[in-house]
């Protein structure tokens, strides 16, 4: 890029894209919390609020043909991956028009079109799956990358270690993205790990690994872009530990009694939207009007998604047994 004004324009529009992506997730989830109070959404609801930079930046760095493996804290991943907000909201309601046909709900968002392999609610359960997706790509000579999200809690599971080893041993094209928000439900990282430097664990399996400020959307994007390029070029698995924080309780059932209010407030100031907006303003890249415009667009999209979910019919009970197995061959 030689023309500096073009570069500025591109980076401005890209920065706004990232901000827009994060606002979509933030406001969508605030709405979900409200809908939960109205009993429209039920079951477990795990909010991603505070962690938006990771999903938005990581998805920006992936290709459409790449695969994504998520967890039960999956709304942000799903929206950033490009699953329509209508389909995600309808899934939150349990309607047939939801991205998992209404059968999965909040924790089990899936979308074949964007190679979004879900919404796994067993901690650590997605890692072996990602290894397998990478194996299939490698065996079939495709240059795809599989991006696998999981939390700091998953790092304690055997499946984490088994997956690290297998991915490294077979040099599979998998990018491991550990969203370290320092808590697994009520258990703080230092109360669960003898070695709290998570990326060091990956390195011990000879996987290139780096810790990144997960609140800095551009830092995340840069790190993911580099890692994705390396994985795609055949350098084997890579690992990023993205340091972040969840601003809300673990789920709607959590009274959040295990952490200091001050700690939560301090992290909120470091939030990805909270820090990006002033820095864009200072650089003169965005003004209040622009932010209003983004907020209005997001609010409209959410209102439309709620209407879409509301108006859909409930699936008839007669169809209860669908999608358990493929139909028997004739």
């Amino acid at each position: 890029m030689t023309d500096p004004s073009l570069e500025a324009l591109l980076s401005r529009s890209h920065a706004l894209e990232l901000l827009h992506g994060m606002l979509r997730i933030r406001r969508f989830e605030e709405k979900c919390a409200e809908l939960y109070g109205q009993l429209k959404i039920r079951g477990f609801l795990h909010l991603y609020i505070g962690e938006e930079a990771i999903a938005v930046a990581a998805m920006a760095a992936l290709e459409k043909s790449d695969a994504v493996v998520s967890t039960y804290r999956d709304h942000g991943h799903a929206l950033a991956r490009g699953i329509s907000m209508n389909a995600v909201m309808a899934e939150m309601y349990g309607k047939r028009t939801g991205c998992s046909g209404g059968r999965g709900g909040s924790m089990h968002l899936f979308d074949a079109a964007s190679r979004f392999y879900g919404g796994n609610a067993i901690v650590g359960g997605g890692l072996p799956l990602a290894v397998g997706l990478g194996l299939a790509d490698k065996m079939q000579g495709r240059s795809n990358v599989t991006a696998c999200f999981f939390g700091d809690g998953a790092v304690a599971e055997g499946e984490f270690h088994e997956s690290m080893n297998l991915a490294a041993l077979w040099r599979l094209p998998v990018l491991f993205l550990c969203e370290n928000n320092y808590y697994a439900m009520g258990t703080a990282l230092e109360r669960a790990q003898s070695e709290t430097d998570i990326s060091a664990k990956a390195r011990s399996y000879r996987i290139p690994a780096e810790a990144v400020d997960g609140m800095d959307v551009t830092a995340v994007e840069q790190a993911v872009r580099q890692a994705v390029a390396a994985v795609r070029a055949g350098a084997g698995p890579h690992f990023l530990e993205l340091r972040t924080y969840r601003f809300r309780a673990h789920s709607m059932f959590d009274a959040d009694l295990y952490r200091d209010k001050d700690e939560v407030e301090a992290w909120k100031k470091k939030g990805p939207i909270e820090t990006l907006v002033p820095s864009l303003q200072q650089a003169g890249l965005v003004d209040d009007e622009e932010i209003d415009r983004l907020e209005r667009a997001v609010a409209e999209e959410i209102a439309a998604a709620v209407a879409f979910a509301e108006q859909a019919e409930w699936e008839p009970v007669e169809q209860l047994l669908r999608d358990v197995c493929a139909p028997e061959p004739q």
Binding site: R42, G94, R103, G105, A121, E157, M185
Partner: protein
Amino acid sequence: MTAAKATYRGALREALREALLADPRVFLMGEDVGRYGGSYAVSMGLLEEFGPERIRDTPLSESAFVGAGIGAALGGMRPIVEIMTVNFSLLALDQIVNTAAALRHMSGGQFHVPLVIRMATGAGRQLAAQHSHSLEAWYAHVPGLRVLAPATLQDARYMLPQALRREDPVLIFEHAQLYNMEGELTAEAAEIDIRSAAVRRPGRDLSLITYGGSLPKTLRAAEMLASEGIEAEVLDLRVLRPLDDRALAESVRRTRRAVVVDEGWRSGSLAAELMARIVELAFYELDAPPVRVCTQELPIPYPKHLEDAALPQAETIAAAARAIAKRHV
């Protein structure tokens, strides 16, 4: 005999407290049992009372901490391991089945595993396919284990001390729908054993046989039937392994008709085992083929109306009972 207001959750907590006070070898470990207070708030307050040595938060490592429970039991402790839910016990299945259950036999009786494992089980809260299992039958399949399903406040309160007295592994399944159940708790520990089934409601016309989270639904079904003039006996199995054949046979011989109610999936279920035993034990006394009400054979769906349709309900239990009661009156 004094009666006090209690909840199922509170009864479980009291049992834990009593055990911790009574025996210094007893300790509790599991994910979020301490600082968080237990994912179902059963162990709330115990960390403050007993400290982090005896109320041990573990990392998310089901296989490791269940295995560590087995090792600690071998080493002379009396561990109580909490697995957050049966869904996650699958990550520890190897330790439970291949080690805890088999150790006494494969060591020729030299070693044994006095370990209690508690876990929440069951569906009904719209938690979808990975958080709604009822896999009690899998564990009840395995020799070497004792499997308990407390469905009343009394059992929630008094099964644990009995389990801790055992020399072999005991699994206690707490149905997630029961934690908020309220009622009266009486101090009659002596009557509680972990061997026998219990008749929860007498009745002469048919036997409704069930356990765990299905007991309240089954009792509701029995009420509905009573209003129609059908007197159903409700048998609560309580102990899923070893099954109380005598109570089963006695009940069915009395009523000559049986409906088995089981939240497990029908194929290969505990219900299947019970049907087989009813036929083995009381074939010639039956006036109708035994029937069963189980969970439909699909992973549990998220929407409420579909989840309800998938699970046994008081209405479906009553309908099954009517079908065999009517046909033969």
